[in-house]
């Protein structure tokens, strides 16, 4: 019996892990034979979610970020989980250009970019307990290969 293809990565919420985490997820996604654009989209979306966890969820302290990724047919599912402060108003947080940290020159485009670069973005958050961001992307190049 074949088990589900998945990976799990646990990192401290330090900014030097941003590049590492997006590269790991991109390498995992490469099993689906994505195009360069798809790889770039995945790296960018993961970077946004991980950066949010570092800046907003844990702010001045270092916490744990857990990244899991799995393959479901030609779909990549990535979850970025933290046990940080949580998001009180999810609707507001997802608004383009909204940022709670303008003093850091944050553009407020993180969720908008995730939504544009992935097929699905789901966010669950409990204030005081943490946030989970689920990113889903169907890899087209593999789908075409399957059809042929």
């Amino acid at each position: 019996m074949h088990g589900r293809t998945y990976m799990k990565l646990e990192i401290p919420s330090r900014s030097d892990n941003e590049a590492f985490s997006r590269v790991v997820v991109a390498a995992f996604a490469s099993r689906l034979d994505p195009t360069l654009e798809e790889i770039s989209d995945i790296k960018t979306a993961v970077s946004e979610a991980v950066t949010n966890a570092i800046i907003h969820a844990y702010d001045d302290r270092v916490g744990v970020i857990t990244i899991t990724a799995s393959l479901d047919g030609n779909k990549l599912v990535v979850e970025i989980l933290d046990q940080g402060v949580g998001i009180a108003d999810l609707e507001q947080a997802r608004q383009p250009l909204y940022t709670s940290k303008p003093e850091l020159e944050r553009s407020g485009m993180g969720f908008t970019i995730m939504e544009n670069f992935m097929d699905e973005v789901k966010v669950r958050s409990i204030p005081g307990q943490g946030t989970a961001v689920v990113l889903v992307k169907e890899i087209q190049s593999k789908a075409v290969l399957h059809q042929n």
Partner: protein, 122 residues
Amino acid sequence: METESLLHGDCLIVRVRGELDHHQADQFRQTVDQGLDDQRVNRLVLNLEGLSFMDSSGIGLILGRFKRVQQKQGQMAICGVTEAVSKVLEISGVPRVIPFMRNEKEALQKTARGINPKRRMR
């Protein structure tokens, strides 16, 4: 990320290579702002030809520098935008406020001529 800054008359040219994310933000901000602190400088050209990755952290940084240039009553242009970073810039609406040119030569000409006042950010 690596940056290379050079002065061309009153124009600061900053060439950026590698990856620009939140981790690299302070280094990028310090490099460009140090250049902009020079009284002679009132134009900025960002050459992104060597940039292989950028997320929304880069958008905030670019718009922050644009505001500084505006405070100096100066002009700014971006050149050498690669496919890897064009999508992030486009979605964020950056081309609506900062002109994108093909290369440094065109960017220098553009900033010398000035930009349409309608493009100015409030």
